[in-house]
């Protein structure tokens, strides 16, 4: 007896050692994944990509919000996605969530493969986790799908553990679990049903039960989907068959996801069948073999790590990250970083929206009047006045932001409401709408948006602060941003309807506030880009209103050209181009005249000295 107890104790010890190494390996794997998510991927960029997406509902705490997800099957999964996605806003919390999802996928699969007695399960269980990491690696959001898969697998494990041998009871348990799952996760409940059917039909050898359960699953879909929730019968079934991938999910992510579902089903089926058919060894040594098991686990982990590393390495596309970083910097008003990013990645300048953000960045860093022509320019990018993009969410967002900064609050209001209706109650939209209404003096309306925004766990802080400020100082005199917005916002009702990006548009803004620096600089930038040097000369007197003490470089160059073109031009004495500037201009024109017939050569010769000048743009644009 003592010997048996001793042996048992030794076995337990060996098992504990094996488990310890497995847990250690597993911990190391997910710790590395966390660091990779944090440092290499930057999960917060996924938030930047999918913020404003109409398929994701911005999360709000409270029962009222939850209740809105009870109207159709599968909406609870949207609620879970909404909850998880909010944490992506911050890189650390987002990486924690991503790793937790990957870990849950690992644990759920591991448990399932354990109940199916799958060999090599330690390696296979890593596969869904790696697949999820891959989708993050290409900046795709598959929280919805993987959460659905995890829940389905967990329910399957639960069923296999609790289902008794008594058939009616196990059918009853299946019915309850499937009905709840169909309501919760709609499309993914089929995964649960298939796993249970495999279990019942193969290792449990209860084909009749499996068939009954399949029929019950169909009945539940008809009952809940069609009869209770009013979904057309075809749709209720089709949703399940197609797994309802989100329309924007990239094919790679969808295929990887399907492959994972297939792998789990296949492993369950094959090993279920193998266990059923394989004869049981008579003297099976069930004692744990510490060394072999530990080595096997180590090998499996190593293979998983290698596959993961290779897959992540080859699927990572740095340009995706750069594009999203530019979006992030623009939203966070990180202007220096945005300019630096553009310098390091010149290919970004071919994108209209990047050029637009870049011009904003130049303004905010006081470099618009001296460095505009250092970078590729497009007049369309200035205020995004291109019809092709004007129905896009990105347009609504960026046009709304620039209009607000310029003081055209009604323009921002239109764009923000298009986003609010089309995309949902995203914090950045709510913030804009609150600011617009504060600028317009409609504080009560602003407070509705602020109250809504203040419910956001991560982004509600500023709203809560403003609400507190309103309580203490209803006029918000101490809030610099609001004070500035109010000083530039055109809100007078006697103004006629104005067209965005017309000359009048800037004049209205400057009439409201002649010190509206951004309106002035954008108006001048537009004139420069249009090569309208006359307009520059006409408006140069405004430098006095704005407190300039020095004529900015590009205006001076434009005035040099204007004085060459129009001898009668009347420029205030204070703002006449300097003799040095005139000399420089003449030098440019003389060199240009030499190579006039060969423009390419003229460009080559003039680039080193004048490449970033207005002269160069004027002649070679």
């Amino acid at each position: 007896m003592d010997q048996i107890a001793k042996k048992q104790s030794q076995d337990n010890k060996k098992e504990a050692i094996t488990s310890f190494f497995r847990i250690l390996g597993c911990t190391a794997f997910f710790a590395c994944l966390f660091l990779y998510c944090c440092k290499a991927i930057r999960i917060d960029l996924i938030y930047q990509k999918f913020a404003l997406d109409p398929w994701i509902v911005p999360f709000e705490p409270g029962l009222e919000f939850f209740k809105t997800f009870l109207d159709e099957p599968g909406r609870i999964l949207s609620y879970i996605e909404s909850f998880l996605f909010q944490w992506y806003y911050l890189n650390t919390s987002g990486s924690i969530i991503a790793v937790l999802v990957a870990m849950c996928a690992f644990l759920a699969t591991y448990s399932l493969l354990t109940v199916f007695k799958v060999k090599g399960r330690y390696f296979l269980a890593y596969c869904p986790a790696i697949a999820f990491a891959l989708t993050c690696n290409i900046y795709d959001n598959m929280l919805y799908n993987y959460a659905g898969l995890i829940i389905a697998v967990v329910f399957a494990v639960l069923y296999i553990i609790i289902a008794p041998k008594n058939r009616p009871v196990s059918i009853l348990i299946f019915s309850i679990l499937f009905a709840s799952l169909y309501f919760m996760i709609a499309a993914f409940s089929l995964m649960f049903a298939l796993l249970v059917l495999i279990y019942e039909a193969v290792p449990a050898r209860r084909q009749a039960t499996a068939i009954t359960q399949a029929l019950i699953a169909c009945a539940v879909i008809i009952l809940i989907g069609t009869i209770v929730c009013g979904i057309p019968i075809k749709e209720a079934f089709m949703q399940n068959l197609t797994f309802a991938p989100r329309p924007w999910a990239c094919p790679f992510s969808i295929n990887v996801f399907y492959a994972m579902c297939g792998l789990i089903l296949l492993a369950s089926l094959i090993f279920g069948t193998w266990h059923r058919l394989a004869p049981k060894p008579e003297n099976e040594n069930t004692h744990p073999r510490t060394l072999i098991n530990t080595i096997t686990a180590a090998i499996q982990l190593t293979v998983a790590v290698i596959i993961c590393t290779v897959a992540l390495f080859f699927s990572f596309e740095p340009s995706n990250k750069v594009n999203l970083l530019s979006k992030y910097y623009a939203r966070q008003s990180m202007w220096d970083e945005l300019i630096e990013l553009g310098e390091k990645n010149p290919q970004l300048h071919k994108y209209l929206f990047f050029n637009h953000d870049h011009t904003r960045a130049l303004f905010h860093t006081n470099r618009l009047e001296s460095e505009l022509f250092k970078y590729p320019q497009s007049i369309d990018a200035l205020l995004l006045s291109v019809e092709d993009v004007q129905q896009s969410r990105e347009y609504y967002e960026k046009a709304g932001a620039i209009m607000l900064e310029l003081g055209y609050v009604n323009g921002t209001e239109i764009n923000s409401f298009e986003l609010l209706e089309g995309s949902g109650n995203w914090p950045l939209v709510l913030e804009n709408l609150a600011l617009i209404n504060l600028a317009k003096g409609q504080d009560q309306t602003a407070m509705v948006f602020l109250n809504k925004l203040s419910k956001d766990i991560l982004q509600g802080k500023q709203a809560r602060q403003i609400l507190q400020q309103i309580k203490n100082d209803p006029a918000l005199l101490d809030n610099k941003r609001i004070r500035h917005l109010r000083s530039i916002a055109i809100t007078e009702a006697d103004l006629p309807t104005i067209g965005y990006d017309t000359d009048d548009f800037y004049l209205w803004l400057l009439r409201k506030n002649p010190k509206n620096k951004m309106a002035f600089q954008y108006m001048m930038a537009k004139s420069l880009l249009k090569e309208d040097t006359n307009k520059i000369a006409e408006n140069i007197y405004r430098l006095d209103d704005l407190g300039y003490d020095k004529l900015p470089r590009y205006y001076e160059e434009a005035l040099v050209i204007e004085t060459q073109l129009n001898k009668d031009i009347n420029i205030p004495e204070k703002w006449k181009p300097s003799a040095k500037a005139m000399q420089q201009g003449n030098a440019f024109l003389q060199t240009y005249a030499i190579y006039k017939k060969d423009k390419a050569k003229a460009m080559r010769v003039l680039t080193p000295e004048f490449g970033d000048s207005f002269y160069f743009y004027f002649m070679f644009n």
Binding site: E64, I414, F417, K440, Q444, A446, M447, A493, I498
Partner: protein, 513 residues
């Protein structure tokens, strides 16, 4: 002696304690405020129906905890609510019992707060009057965010005014990202109703007539059922939306053209009359008198030659007159239009006429110009005594600096529901007021919500509030099914309301060709 002496001492001590206690209590009672507590929504000195849901509110006073005693003239004990938060949620059962008994009398809120030192302080009593007449039990309304060009979620819902139950009548998503609007009921009943829709699946009007569900292949604009139920009259509008570069309300709407047509339920055909579709005039907002013998409507001359240009230069010059025309339903004959009130006399555009169920008054809205009062902050509600023709502004309690519009009456004519943007200028909310025999309105109150803070962060508006006696009996699924069905009643329209489907660049636009 000693015993008596001791007894005297004991009595004296007890007396002293009692006096001290009483004076302490008196002091506590006296340590109150000489004003009413600030509460939101403002449920003070209003007239409320005896069947209204609990008037849950927030106390806008800083305190550690709150206490509200609710009682009436008939039940002075009432009941008490204690709360550690500002939100006061009144128990539904107790409220109902109290209110039923208080019909025609007053109810009171005694509000007290506990300060940081643990002392309770009372505010002056907040009274409200309970009218003897109930309000219709339900409110049908359009639930949407402030929409500009695009829409995603357009819903028509119904709220049980006696409780907080709120159900969907139809959701635009169910008919393919559609728009649903112009819900109209016959005599406040839901047996006969109409809902306009526009979606990928088509454009038309859903009808429910005594359980029979139909789809008419024509979009009805502003609609009014003839009291007999035999016909519905509606406007056909060439509506265009545009935006203001400046001003409080960004959106504006102009009818480039409009006319009035009517649909005969039995014939399943549409007609018009020359008096209702003058080419030089825009007719809109038709509404019947309760006897069905007169139709009130609004009309304005067409000021532009080009009926497509947007916005027309004279958009802010258009002002509608109020007109009426007689009608004989037996012979289907129309009289000659008469002008009831001219815009040139009022200086404003007269819109949205509705006659009270007793036929005594007509309530309408007036704004500076145009056809769409909801987007005009200048829009106010006015009342006209139809016996004398005298009209007047409904007063500062009904009207605010923002838009008031879209009114409807309860079937007994004692309650008016209307839309107001008084809470900031953007979000439309539903308010109710009591109308006495002289058409004098009481101070309005907002539709109560279970969560008294709900309006403070709600981004949807409550639009076109229509009071109805009971719930809509047709389920959302039945309505959806009817709209999506291929079957439809084809009508030979004298005017076509050819509305672009939602996929067009400007899906909200409605075109009369």
């Amino acid at each position: 002696m000693t015993v008596i002496h001791h007894f005297k001492i004991i009595i004296s001590v007890i007396m002293v304690i009692l006096i001290l206690t009483c004076s302490a209590a008196a002091a506590e009672n006296n340590s109150g405020f000489d004003r009413q507590a600030k509460i939101r929504p403002d449920y003070t000195s209003t007239v409320i129906p005896p069947n209204i849901a609990p008037l849950n509110f927030t106390i806008l006073e800083d305190a550690k905890s709150y206490r509200v005693k609710v009682y009436s003239q008939t039940d002075k004990d009432g009941f008490e609510i204690a709360s550690n938060t500002r939100e006061i949620k009144i128990p539904e059962k107790k409220w109902k019992t109290l209110l039923n008994d208080a019909a025609g009398r007053n109810i009171f809120f005694d509000i007290s707060i506990k300060d940081d030192n643990g002392n309770w302080k009372n505010f002056k009593t907040t009274p409200n009057q309970v009218a003897p007449e109930p309000i219709d039990g339900y409110l049908a309304y359009r639930f949407i965010k402030p929409i500009f060009n695009n829409w995603e979620n357009v819903e028509i819902r119904q709220r049980n005014i006696e409780t907080f139950k709120d159900d969907q009548i139809i959701h635009g998503k169910k008919i393919g990202r559609g728009c649903v609007n112009c819900h109209t009921f016959l005599n406040n009943e839901t047996q006969q109703m109409a809902i306009g829709f526009r979606s990928k699946k088509g454009v038309g009007t859903f009808l429910s007539i005594n359980g029979e569900l139909q789809k008419v292949d024509a979009k009805w604009g502003y609609t009014s059922w003839h009291p007999s139920g035999k016909l519905a009259i509606y406007s056909v509008n060439k509506v265009r939306q545009f935006f203001h570069g400046v001003s409080t309300e960004v959106r504006d709407v102009v009818d480039l053209d409009s006319a009035i047509a009517y649909y005969n339920v039995q014939e399943q055909q549409a007609h018009t009359a020359p008096e209702l579709s003058d080419i030089n005039s825009q007719e809109t907002y038709p509404t019947w008198t309760p006897d069905g013998k007169w139709l009130y409507f609004c009309a304005a001359p067409v000021l532009w030659q080009d009926r497509d240009k947007m916005p027309p230069k004279e958009y802010d010059q258009v002002k509608y007159d109020l007109k009426k025309i007689s009608y004989d339903i037996e012979t289907d004959t129309w009289g000659k239009p008469e002008t009831v009130l001219e815009a040139k006399d009022t200086g404003k555009s007269i819109l949205l006429p509705r006659v009270t169920p007793d036929g005594k008054f007509l309530v309408f809205s007036m704004c500076d110009y145009g056809c769409f009062p909801v987007f005009s902050p200048s829009s106010d509600l006015y009342i006209m005594d139809l016996r004398t023709g005298k009209w007047e502004n409904m007063g500062n309690q009904i009207n605010s600096q923002y838009s008031e519009s879209w009114h409807s009456f309860s079937s007994n004519g004692k309650w008016m529901a209307f839309s107001s943007k008084r809470r900031g200028g953007l979000f439309t909310r539903t308010f109710f007021c009591y109308l006495d025999d002289n058409g004098e309105p009481s101070k309005p109150f907002i539709l109560p919500q279970e969560d008294p803070l709900r309006y403070d962060s709600m981004l949807q508006t409550f639009s076109v509030p229509e009071l109805i006696k009971g719930p809509v009996i047709v389920s959302p699924r039945q309505i959806t099914k009817t709209i999506l069905a291929e079957e439809k009643i084809k009508v030979n329209m004298p005017l076509t309301g050819a509305t672009p489907k939602v996929d067009s660049a400007q899906p909200w636009q409605q075109v009369r060709e």
